[in-house]
Amino acid sequence: MATKTIKVPKMVNGAPTAEVEEIQVEDYGNQSWGPKDKHRLINTKIPRVDAPYKTTGTAQYTHDVRVPGMLHGRLVTSPYAHAKVTSIDTDKAMKIDGVKKILAIIEPGGEIYHEGQPVVAVAATTPEIAEDVARAVVVKYEVLPHVITAEDAMKPGVQPLIPARGRGGGRGGNSQGTAEQVDAALKNCDAVVEVEYRTPILHHCCLETHSCVSDFRGEQSATVYVSTQGTFTIPAEAARELGVPVTGVVQHMGGGFGSKLAGIGIAGQWATRLSKQTNTPVKLVLTRREEFLTSGNGPGSVQKFKAGASKDGVLVALNATQYSMPGIGNGNIAAQPYQYKAQNVYRQAITLATHEDGAVPMRAPGHPQACFAMESLMDELAYKIGMDPVEFRKKNVTDVAWHRQLDTGAKAIGWDKRNLTPGAAKGPLVRGMGCAIGAWGGGGGAGSQVDITIGQDGSVSVAVGSQDIGTGTRTYVRAIVAEELGLEMTDVQEKIGNSMYGNSSGSGGSRTTASLAPALKDAAYNARVALSKIVAPLIGADPDAVWFDNRYIMGNGKAISWKQSCAALPTAGLAARGAFQAPLAGQGAHGASFAEVEVDIETGHVRVTKMCHVQDGGLIMNRLAVESQINGGMIQSIGMALYEGRVMDAELGVMINPAFNDYKLPGAMEIPELIPIIDDGDTRDVVIGIAEPGNIPGCGAIANAVYNACGVRVRETPITPDKILNGLMQMRRVNA
């Protein structure tokens, strides 16, 4: 950092006057953002620059891409959970007018491991014909026994049934003690709880299903459009199929939530192969049913606990067995005791494979499941020792950030007015409150390359290939550069979502902003330094003693407008490049959620009336986008808590709710008063990703609020009316 004294003309109404004054400015260079409260654009509320395009429907998603002459791909998928393909007969299908290609994905003799697994891919001239062709392909199967339920999967000898991906049946643990030590410690506890919590497999439910348009015409290069979280996965993965250099395009994305981290995915793989074999562009869009059955999911969980606390509020001992249920994939549940410390911990982590599509990362992988279980457990212990659940948490957290956040959230929700005796209110409408905490990494990393071009006409374009998965990348790309160069948002044009531009990382682990923002800052700083060298002599100033503000470059008591400055550039303009700067990024995001619910004890209906989430995130790039991100997280946690879950028929081995009518997402009527709070008590002046953490603690907070309201502890999500009514009936039987 350097403090500079610069002579500038006094500005009146945005224009320089003849009067000269001296100003002191801090130049933080490219290794620090400077203090959080000193920014002109970043850390303020900036409306999304692409909002007009998205709200008017002109933003182009992969679903919208149509290229001349393209064919339409379609998949034939297995109706069985476990089977062997015995034959594939394409005779009838090949006779349909408009069919162009049919290729086997699983050859006869190959094994199927889940319902919906792609078996054959077809291409035809229209989507309707492609569907007819797919249905006319006759695939015969030898049906094999399947495993669906946790109980079946836990049976000895069952796991080897599923060798797919070689990932099933894993074991792990992070014990800080032995089971015996934990048992001994539990004997001295004032309160002991032995419980089991379950969460079903959840789905990402992106409004844009996985999709790809492979624009290859048998020539020497191709352009491939994919709805993916990693623009730069496209060139290599598509080129493997197409055999020519590929430009990847991800202009806008209709949601990812982790499901689109697997490169070009199934849609990309089969669109490119069909395209290669037909020398024709092919579009392949997964149907909603396929999206549910074969595009990945978030693992289910069964978590068994025996835990004890002392009456002064110390979590003394925990024996946890965490079963993860990622189908045939991999997917761990975050380790217990989650964000708490316990004196004695014995933990086993076991992966249970079932004949279901494999789990993939899903917004805060493993965390909402671990958090719901641990936060429910903490709540049960708090009530058992008669301690305020907020106080009990504060006594056992691993970081003091949560003290601040729990206090802030408690105030926002009105914790002091909460119901003190669960289930005591007469009803029928009873209210309750609950809380929970969560944590996430959100660190950045190297790999981004940002190129800024300033034209003679004063235009500024910022190019980096990064996709915007919907979190607002475009907006902060502009904001960081505009702020550094003393410009406004409308002065900067962003070019993103294309592999022709500089590299950037995939959007996973909340890492995009923390990786990209430092590189943007670096590029903008380099552009400023380069431009200073050209412009300073024009006003007789030292290049180190000029200041960019208000669309002017100022120094030596003079000011030259941005447009005039740029006119001095050579014909090619000015190019500057930036890369990741580690001191600009940090990691470690903490959050706390509070929920207030109203339970109708005659119908079992739960309505979230108010919800609050407090989130830290270092230096915020765009407060409006972060609030929106927190709101989205809270809404997703309402879905997990009250509505969502894959439902399987264990006998048939099929998912019976693979549609939005039956896999219920919260709608407008389910959204309560949402209070997103950015934790400005966080003094870190670095960028930290907060895409995922807003989704973590909400489910636990709602479950705890339901208990606080009506006295029913529902230990399996979603907390639906039948579970509340069954719980109330059981309570009445016990009390009678």
Binding site: P79, E651, A668
Partner: protein, 331 residues
């Protein structure tokens, strides 16, 4: 969906002609099919549950969408009047309040603007298994009702077998409670029957939910004049968009001394047809809607319920709805 022929009907007679099956012995789900709003039909066609060779558009029949007075204080509702038309009709809102409430409880505004009264009465069940193309359940000509021993949280608690569906219509229980009739047009002319007699149980014909024969359509619903108060109370798991987990349509006529002259109670979401609970109705006649009498009626309403493994909660839920509906009409 399968390719199909689209035919715009110019009149009711023309629609009936267009709906005449080429093969009278074809599977019931492969007959020509009428469409109006298409909000249910298209979902079944996309899943290949219904596979009509020809789809006959009733929306081109002039005047079939009218809601008119019958001149005696009652209503004549054309079959292609939309759910929104019912929901927003001032006369229905004031005199047949329960019918407007039932309409408002359906789906979403977008669906209500397109969906029609006739279509709502003729919609197919929402049972998970029925809606899966890959599952050949009894309603689709198979030999197993998978809901019986499978996931049956949303299925019927008044079961006659051999299928355990619930009827998904919200207008149906209310129209039955209001004593409405409907007119059916077909190759043999037209007939008018009580709405109650329109619906059939799976033990009468497991492939169908109503008495419409091939080539027949519903053309009009008649709601008789009433001085009774009505209400429709629907419980949805998800308020924004859902079918009834349970619902109650209640019509009560009170004497000046606040005793019940006549009560009609019909349940939705609990049986394969709108489930009239005569015993509960009779228990209220001549009595005030006191807490005790209301509770007794609610208990009688669920007499004979035989829940499946996962839907026992519907018993206390439905009792609560019956109590609330009656208390609401007493207020």
């Amino acid at each position: 969906m399968n390719a199909f022929e689209w035919a715009n009907a110019s009149s009711v007679d023309n629609a009936v002609k267009l709906l005449k099956p080429a093969d009278a012995k074809a599977d019931p789900d492969e007959m020509p099919h009428a469409v109006a709003g298409g909000q249910d039909l298209l979902t079944t066609m996309k899943a290949y549950i219904v596979r009509p060779p020809r789809v006959v558009n009733l929306k081109t029949i002039q005047g079939l969408d009218q809601i008119k007075s019958d001149g005696r204080g009652g209503l004549k509702i054309g079959a292609t009047a939309t759910i929104s038309d019912i929901e927003e009709n001032a006369e229905i809102k004031s005199k047949f309040t329960g019918l407007a409430e039932a309409a408002a409880s359906i789906a979403t505004p977008q669906i209500r603007h397109l969906g029609t009264v006739g279509g709502n009465l003729c919609q197919r069940p929402r049972c998970w298994y029925f809606r899966l193309e890959t599952v050949q359940c009894k309603k689709k000509g198979g030999d197993t009702c998978y809901a019986e021993s499978g996931q049956n949280k949303y299925n019927a608690i008044f079961n006659t077998g051999p299928s355990n569906i619930v009827h998904p219509s919200d207008l149906a229980p209310m129209l039955v409670a209001l004593g409405a009739t409907l007119t059916i047009a077909g190759p043999d002319g037209s007939r008018t029957i009580p709405v109650q007699d329109f619906f059939i149980r799976p033990d009468q014909n497991v492939r169908k939910e109503n008495i419409l024969k091939d080539g027949e359509i519903v053309t009009e619903i008649q709601v008789p004049a009433t001085t009774a108060k009505s209400t429709y109370l629907k419980f949805k798991e998800r308020e924004s968009l859902d079918f009834a987990m349970s619902s109650v349509a209640a019509v009560v006529e009170l004497a000046p001394d606040k005793t019940v002259r006549k009560a009609t109670l019909v349940l939705g979401g609990v049986a394969s047809i709108p489930w009239r609970i005569a015993k509960a109705e009779q228990s209220l006649v001549g009595k005030p809607l006191s807490e005790q009498n209301v509770a007794q009626a609610a208990a009688l309403a669920l007499e004979g319920a035989s829940p499946l493994e996962h839907n026992g909660y519907k018993v206390p839920l439905t009792q609560a709805l019956v109590r609330r509906a009656l208390n609401h009409l007493n207020a």
